[in-house]
């Protein structure tokens, strides 16, 4: 069993409170994590300046090189993690064991996180729109137009309250170190693995350890302490969390994606050619990500589209996590899958809603102490159906019949919208929609993310403020 101490600006902290992180199915302990209380975080926050100073002592270009190396190490090296040496396979096995995610999915996330680190220069170039990191490091400079530009860093360290259920989200905070800001992380209670391995890889690559805090412990207490003591933080949660922090400039909140595929009237008659794309958008990564499509909108053929998707998604079975074909993750919180299924059954009883995967057998699969939900396709005969945009933490999609001219009012907030249309007028409306974050024009699966473009809010805009700076002649 691996022992993970909380890290306080690079220094492991021996706590008297130790939690066990257990195998999702057998209950066997996999890790012992040393937990801390909110007071420690608030006290440590006063030293965040030191983290920034340690990083500022290294030129940005050098930091970028070290992060690239960290990406390679993260992906393929055996690293000192906690009190053990962790190989990439150990990492994947541990992550799968405590989260219930299939091994193949964990492996894919390793590649994704490593990609971001290995391409950090390109990603930063896109995030900064080509601005030299030297200007961010110095605070001001000449962009080349003979005009001084100045960007004021809004924090010494970014706080992040990380989830347990989606190891893919780590790509969002990985670039921060290159911006010479520290990281204050609260790992997810059943997924401490990625933050600890990233920390190990970065330190091994030469990033100063004093740039990092990793705090394990009770979500409310620690999460609250991070959000109140870091001047900029990101948090991941459900709709309630999103509502709680809406409008708070100090907090970037990441919640459900409500991502969608829209079929324009000009393309919908060719729907059969897009079924694989629709299924991929719903099912990739276990359907757990904010990138996965939760609704498909079209003005006609929706019943056939739903039937075709159900025919592909409905038969998918629960497989052991180490089976390379496993695509469904377990719900490890007792009663969660049952409660979700109850709510879906309730939604499916509404007028105009049809459960299209019903002919393919039971959706709720009890495997005590965990449970699974097999993919669900619901057809909504009207865009006024109350549950048309519901998102769940497994492959579940609503296929909604909706006239094209009503789509942009019916879809609501949408993290990723893949719009399959060549209608220029509709495309213009899509571009102008303020409900859509990432817009894919044409047949692009929703989870196909170009990491070279900002995802879910631009990190640079969150961490810096553009301001005026004048230097006397």
């Amino acid at each position: 069993m691996i022992e993970l101490k909380s890290i306080r600006w690079g220094v492991p902290y021996e706590s008297l409170d130790i939690d066990e992180v257990n195998h999702f199915y057998t209950g066997e302990p996999v890790a012992r994590v040393h937990t801390v209380g909110g007071g420690i975080i608030q006290r440590d926050a006063k030293n965040a300046r030191n983290a920034r100073r340690a990083l500022q002592a290294i030129p940005p270009a050098e930091l970028v090189d070290r992060l690239k190396k960290a990406g390679q190490l993260f992906e393929s090296a055996t690293l000192p993690v906690g009190d053990t040496q962790q190989s990439p396979d150990d990492f994947i096995a541990q992550q799968s064991a405590t989260t219930g995610m299939p091994v193949a999915m964990c492996r894919a996330n390793v590649v994704k996180n490593a990609f971001v680190l290995k391409n950090i220069d390109r990603i930063l170039e896109c995030l900064t729109r080509g601005l030299s990191l030297e200007i961010l490091a110095r605070g001001y400079g000449d962009e080349g137009r003979g005009v001084t530009v100045s960007y004021q860093a809004q924090c010494d360290a970014l706080g992040a309250v990380l989830p347990s259920n989606s190891p893919g989200v780590h790509t969002l905070w990985l670039p921060v170190i290159a911006l010479q800001m520290g990281l204050v992380l609260k790992p997810g209670s059943s997924e401490p693995w990625t933050p600890y391995r990233v920390f190990a890889a970065m330190v091994e690559a030469g990033i100063p350890a004093e740039a990092f805090c990793l705090y394990n412990g009770a979500g409310g207490d620690i999460g609250g302490a991070i959000l109140s003591s870091c001047r900029r933080s990101m948090i991941f949660g459900g709709p309630q969390t999103v509502a709680q922090y809406a409008g708070n400039e100090k907090v970037q909140v990441h919640g459900p994606g409500f991502s969608k595929v829209l079929l324009g009237d000009d393309c919908v008659d060719d729907w059969e050619t897009h079924v694989d794309l629709l299924v991929d958008s719903v099912y990739r990564n276990g359907g757990r990500s904010c990138l996965n499509a939760s609704s498909v909108y079209a003005s006609r053929h929706t019943k056939e589209i739903a039937e075709a998707m159900a025919a592909k998604l409905g038969p998918i079975e629960v497989l052991p996590p180490d089976n390379p074909d496993a695509g469904l993750a377990a719900f490890t919180i007792e009663g969660a899958a049952q409660a979700i299924w109850k709510s879906i059954e309730n939604d499916a009883r509404a007028s105009g809603v049809t459960h299209m995967t019903e002919p393919y057998g039971d959706r709720l699969v009890d495997r005590p102490p965990v449970a699974y939900l097999r993919p669900v396709v619901l057809h909504h005969a009207s865009h006024e159906s109350e549950t048309r945009n519901k998102e769940q933490m497994f492959p579940m999609v609503n296929v909604v019949a909706c006239p094209q001219d009503k789509m942009l009012t019916a879809i609501g907030p949408t993290l990723i919208c893949s719009a399959i249309t060549n209608d220029e007028a509709f495309r213009r409306d899509l571009v102008n929609s303020i409900d859509i974050d990432r817009l894919n024009l044409g047949p692009v699966p929703t989870p196909q993310v170009d990491w070279l473009q900002p995802h879910e809010g631009n990190l640079i805009e969150f961490l810096y403020r553009s301001r005026a700076l004048q230097v006397a002649g």
Partner: protein, 376 residues
């Protein structure tokens, strides 16, 4: 008896003596509460429902198991006079409440109990760190709780004067439930600002009561202002609750206070109690014993047992985990076997307290989620 006394185990004779005193006290208390001339209307009424006669069949502490489990619902709603023993009818009566964020709070009456409890507790405080005659700060909930009056009495009992800063936990819980985290934090800051004003106004405040969250916030705010608890003159603190864990104590002692009492000059002792019971004291808490916190009830006035989760009449073995069960045995209030919303490990008798104790007190795991802890 002081908290710095020996930590060696008690002599068997001391244990036997304590047990005999408890048995005698249990009989005496039951006689008082179930006698027509002295008992309270609630218990005299309840007597009719019992299948035994408490006046003749309670011959020792163990016989209290004959009573049905005490239901805390009995404490909700009135008339509150039904709890006042006839034998105390002419005394001024206080009512203290617990809970009450939503719905009707539980209430208990008291005349002198809180003073007696805190006078006894006073005997366990080392004079070196709680200097007689010095002034106190009470930083915590007052309102319908006994805490303010009790701490004020403690200060007066030790020859001091008590400054009080109020915090309404019902409002804090409401804020947290509504997601108004900023409001809750601002309210906490408002309390801390008042406390710092008192501590820096030349009132010779040396001792204080504070809840763990408020002590932590106070220390952090003092640090922010470039000073510390020691610098503003505090030498003795008592605190309590399930938030007072070994890890929190370690953090406080090592980082917020600046070391153990011999280095920082600050001595802190945990307590465990509630409106129904008196104040359970702790064995000395030190780094050498990994800041382990072990409470012993103020026997014979109150008893804490650690019982099996399912068979709540069975005390678990030493070192084993169980639910805490309180019995209160005073002339003002009789509570036989009340199951607390906490659990912990049963501990053997201690030289200072020759009867069982409980360590590792934390919210009862089977009820977790239903209780909001650490709000103030």
């Amino acid at each position: 008896m002081t908290a710095s006394s020996t930590s060696s185990p008690p002599l068997p004779a001391a244990i036997d003596q304590a047990r005999a005193a408890l048995d005698a006290h249990a009989v005496e208390t039951v006689q008082w509460h179930f006698h027509e001339s002295t008992g309270c209307p609630f218990w005299l009424d309840k007597k009719n429902e019992l299948n035994f006669d408490p006046l003749t069949e309670i011959r020792g502490f163990d016989d209290l198991k004959k009573f049905p489990e005490f239901q805390d619902e009995w404490l909700r709603g009135g008339p509150v006079r039904r709890w006042v023993p006839r034998g105390l009818g002419d005394k001024p009566v206080y009512v203290f409440e617990t809970g009450g964020t939503t719905g009707t709070p539980k209430s208990r009456i008291a005349c002198e109990d809180f003073r007696t409890d805190y006078s006894l507790f006073s005997d366990t405080l080392p004079d070196k760190h709680f200097p007689p005659g010095s002034n106190w700060l009470m930083l915590g909930p007052s309102g319908p709780r006994r805490l303010r009056l009790a701490v004020e009495h403690l200060a007066q009992h030790r020859g001091g004067i008590c400054f009080c800063i109020d915090l309404d936990p019902r409002w804090v819980i409401k804020c947290l439930k509504k997601g108004w985290i900023d409001h809750a934090n601002e309210y906490k800051k408002h309390c801390i600002d008042q406390a710092i004003t008192i501590l820096t106004s030349g009132h010779d405040v040396r001792c204080m009561f504070g809840t763990p969250k408020l002590i932590e916030a106070l220390c952090l705010q003092l640090e922010e202002r470039g000073t510390s608890l020691a610098e503003v003159g505090i030498t003795g603190i008592f605190s309590g609750g399930t938030e007072f864990t070994p890890q929190w104590t370690k953090f406080c002692v090592e980082e917020l206070f600046g070391g153990p009492p011999e280095e920082s000059g600050i001595y802190m002792t945990p307590t465990y109690g509630n409106t129904l019971m008196g104040l359970a004291c702790s064995e000395p808490v030190t780094a050498a014993n990994a800041y382990k916190i072990t409470y012993h009830a103020p026997q014979p006035r109150a008893v804490v047992e650690v019982v099996d989760f399912d068979d709540t009449d069975r005390v678990v073995g030493y070192g084993e985990t169980g639910r805490t069960k309180l019995t209160t045995l005073t002339k003002e209030f009789f509570v036989p076997g009340f199951l607390e919303r906490d659990e912990g490990e049963r501990e053997p008798p201690h030289a200072l307290y020759p009867w069982d104790g409980v360590s590792g007190v934390r919210p009862f795991s089977r009820l977790e989620g239903g209780t909001t802890v650490g709000v103030y």
